[in-house]
Symmetry: C2
Subunit: 151 residues, 2 copies
């Protein structure tokens, strides 16, 4: 059985996503695989169903900028080239699957913290990614209840 050749890490802005990122980097190194990184920013209008009482465009811009900055910081540190970084605006599951197909990805790494806090606005869930993925999915458990190995 051949190993993974192209791994796609799906990140969000949640603090715990560094654990997910570290795991993806580790996996890519062990397999000698290319690492691709996607951050999908969900439109606030999608999250709230259009029921937004004020103009949220500046908030949306800030989210987008913060996402770009954290994506770049992570990718610089992990040695992921520009061509393998994707900042996308849309529905996380849909966009992650689209990138996975177009970049011929064989494993997606995603945090499985559910939707809490900021992740509720921005993140994608492991479950959504698992449904309809045509490749392997590693759900990295983060947040409360995450297992810590005893040794």
């Amino acid at each position: 059985m051949s190993g993974y050749k192209r791994i796609l890490l799906a990140v969000d802005l949640a603090e715990e996503s560094s654990i997910v990122g570290e795991r993806a980097v580790q996996l890519a190194r062990l397999f000698g695989a290319q690492l691709h990184v996607v951050h999908v920013v969900e439109p606030l209008s999608l999250v709230y169903g259009g029921d937004i009482p004020m103009d949220m465009s500046s908030v949306q811009d800030q989210i987008q900028e913060q996402a770009q900055s954290s994506l770049d910081d992570f990718c610089e540190a992990a040695g992921v080239p520009d061509a393998h970084r994707y900042l996308i605006f849309g529905r996380p599951e849909t966009e992650i699957h689209r990138i996975a197909m177009s970049a011929d990805i064989d494993a997606i790494v995603v945090g499985s913290h559910g939707r809490q806090g900021l992740a509720l606005l921005l993140g994608s869930t492991a479950n959504g990614v698992l449904h309809g993925a045509s490749c392997d999915v590693l759900a990295v458990r983060v947040g409360p209840g995450a297992h810590q190995s005893a040794d």
Copy 2:
């Protein structure tokens, strides 16, 4: 970040489960992790909600024997010692989580073929395992629609 130390492979009798098994063996080798293997046989009465028109106990026995045999065959080939093999009768998700807790597992590997054919009777689904797992879960895509890397 430390690597996986104890990986739990959840198998069923489906033909595609060899792909899942190979991936788990590969992962355990790369991480230098112990490999544990569980096969959960679901009671037919559970699957059919007690609505079984005839005595299915001999069928259940055959399923159990076949499961034991395929579990042993796989584990012999993969070098998994007796102490790390689990043939369990019950609800897959519940039992997989129980073993994961008691054996201090840090990653579960499971096929994500959904419930089809014999797997409908016997297997567990990646989704069920993902829910409530306190460790990472690798869902290995098998069956129709599974991605084959281009090179």
